[in-house]
Symmetry: C2
Subunit: 234 residues, 2 copies
Amino acid sequence: MRSGFGQFCPVAVACEIFAERWTPIILRELFNGAEHFNEIHRGIPLISRPLLVKRLRELEAAGVIVREALPNGRGRYCLSEAGKEFAPLIEQLGTWGQRWTSRVERRNLDAGLLMWNLRRRIVLELLPPQRVVVRFKYGGIPAAYRGYRVFWLLLERMQVDLCVVDPGFEVDLYVTADLAAMTRVWLGDELLESALRTREIELVGKGELVKAFPSWLMLSRFAGVPRPVAAAGG
Amino acid sequence: MRSGFGQFCPVAVACEIFAERWTPIILRELFNGAEHFNEIHRGIPLISRPLLVKRLRELEAAGVIVREALPNGRGRYCLSEAGKEFAPLIEQLGTWGQRWTSRVERRNLDAGLLMWNLRRRIVLELLPPQRVVVRFKYGGIPAAYRGYRVFWLLLERMQVDLCVVDPGFEVDLYVTADLAAMTRVWLGDELLESALRTREIELVGKGELVKAFPSWLMLSRFAGVPRPVAAAGG
DNA sequence: CGGTATCCCCCGCGATACTG
DNA sequence: CAGTATCGCGGGGGATACCG
């Protein structure tokens, strides 16, 4: 697999930069607001760290991202003007995936990734003034899965924190969920109300919090993408 | 490189199908109207035939293309409804490549590929009623290039044929060009008139044909994409 | 935290030859 | 024309350990 396609076509040259393995997913993380190395890596846990470094360097060399070295030894990755113009591509990839693929396969289930994404999509403005601690516990997890299955979400007025070890606060709301069901809800494949009815997802806590909880979740950016109209006979 | 990214995110799942090596380029060919195996392969000469077969099977399994077996033993590849929805992605990739990359690198120069693409972008309606035979001869070709450098284009009212061996007809118009210059013109990086002035491209033949020739060429689909506004100090 | 450095395996892929 | 079959290699990338 020698690099490059040997074609002057703009599509081919763009592919040499954009369509490398993991690259669109790295860009997705940057568009989602990730800036630091470990932040990016948390959104893509299955990429090895050396490979993530390599891809970031390649994107930098291609002028897609700019690396800023912060004084404290940290790095910071920002999309360049050219990089920002990949936004519609990520958008369309997600739209296509939402319309034409089944995403909730066992091999794709990952409770940690689900929580990491969910954390970014909380409607801060709807949260009550005082801190709310929500504990999530997942069941129905694939045998091969080696990550965490219990999480604490600390919801504060202007900030959300995700913990994988008990932060010690009193829990206000308990969420117990089948991982596949919660993933379907996140992706817009199933209504939260429906999963609550079938008890694949259960909420336990003060009535007002149980009632308000669904309104805090924005779900995946692609949850609302319209599905293809079923063809006749399909 | 085990397949898949292990993420339920629609972007990731779409990437598993779309962002494989060569796949966007195969789709580009299908959008350009290629339907048969060798037709697709002519647009992507550097892919090995077994690998092209493999990619086509993968796209078929993913529901992106449909293969029709014709009675004469030929196959025919068509984009499915899902496949057609990749159109904006190919468009965006080409647009990005046109705006942000330099495409006319030595490693990308390929006279055969240039002619094969040029052939598809002739304005049939502007051709004169009788056949016009144009002979192209390229110079300035990279030493590593092993393809043809002389071509005959048979322009007829409703059809264009490309030959790499002398078809035997009398030549009406001779085009002699530097390969890089002709590629730049094709990609919209340089005006044909400019290349004619510098004599990187020369036209020899009847005056009326020499004059009409530029109007027959539509150039690359991306030739007209607006370039980024130069940043101050760039 | 944000990377390097090293080792090594595996499989993606090209090359080549063959077939209906 | 449109593939299939087989072989062998090279390097992409995972695992692991180390560093400033």
